[in-house]
Symmetry: C2
Subunit: 164 residues, 2 copies
DNA sequence: GTTCGTGCAAATGATTTGCACTTCG
DNA sequence: CGAAGTGCAAATCATTTGCACGAAC
């Protein structure tokens, strides 16, 4: 049984209905290899159904989030907006790296995080139910580009000269 | 030299001016043991200067963020709003635990994170400039309360009975 | 005195919601 | 048919911004 059929099943189990809009949004998500915003899902899906509404996209995404089918997170360095992660159900324990230059997001496992959790609980008590780990930096190809260009020589006076 | 004097110095170094509003906001932050929102800083500070404006609080907090004097982060499970962290300059390498019940935030060090960064770079290349790690769960005292209460017996039919 | 900062009100922008209409089961 | 979902427009709410006035240096 494929992903969409599984989601449909969970949906029916909670008294929900499968509609053409929901199917379209699910199919759009299934094709994503990135972490789209609601607006991006909307734009991509609307190519096949121009009268789809952004509210419906939001409602569907939030509903999928409750079902545990997609994740959502916000990243620093861009305008504050949720990005949705269709990979969470296939691969629940992943974390994110985001490249500051090309904005690529890399998903990676972090089994060592369990040790960090254990350390925390040993020191402070309590219990940990979930964790969010995000790395920010330069991805491999952006780092290579920056290195091959060499450092920029920044001279404020030279810039001022241009204005004369 | 105390914290406020240090901040004033950084401020002057970049052509900024010290005003009564900024001093008040700094003093308010210095007394915080939690991670207040802009609105909360505003409410606390306004007790001493009722004509302080929320815009000024935002502008000051963003400026302190640029100076590296305060940090800002958002937490899940509440309405999306920035929380400001006055402790970042005294203790730059800390991360956050947030209790799902009492909303207490615990700051903790995570030196092991360096190993996770090294592992990531070994696998994917690139470079890491910053990291955000947030744990969500129950703090020690909330966990004890939950455990001492014992599990709740949830019976939907019993709830329906009340409506008759 | 000139530059920088503040207060105020209005703008922004992502997200949510009320409501009349439509569709699924 | 009746509950659940959609489209549309309007509401929300945190945050930002334009502008005229006031304060710091």
């Amino acid at each position: 049984m494929d992903w969409i059929a599984q989601v449909t099943e969970r949906l029916r189990a909670t008294g929900g209905r499968m509609t053409s809009q929901r199917r379209l949004i699910l199919e759009t998500l299934a094709q994503c290899t990135d972490h789209p915003t609601a607006e991006e899902v909307y734009r991509r899906a609307r190519q096949r159904a121009p009268d789809l509404n952004l509210s419906t996209v939001y409602r569907t995404l939030r509903w999928l989030e409750e079902l545990g089918v997609v994740g959502s997170q916000r990243f620093e360095g861009e305008r504050p907006q949720d990005r949705f992660d269709p990979a969470i159900s296939a691969n629940p324990d992943h974390h994110h790296f985001r490249c500051r230059l090309c904005n690529t997001i890399i998903e990676f496992p972090a089994p060592l995080l369990e040790i960090l959790k254990r350390d925390f609980i040993a020191h402070y008590g309590g219990s940990i139910e979930s964790a969010s780990l995000i790395f920010y930096g330069l991805c491999q190809s952006c780092l290579q580009k920056v290195e091959s260009y060499g450092p920029l020589s920044f001279n404020p006076d030279a810039i001022l000269d241009h204005t004369r």
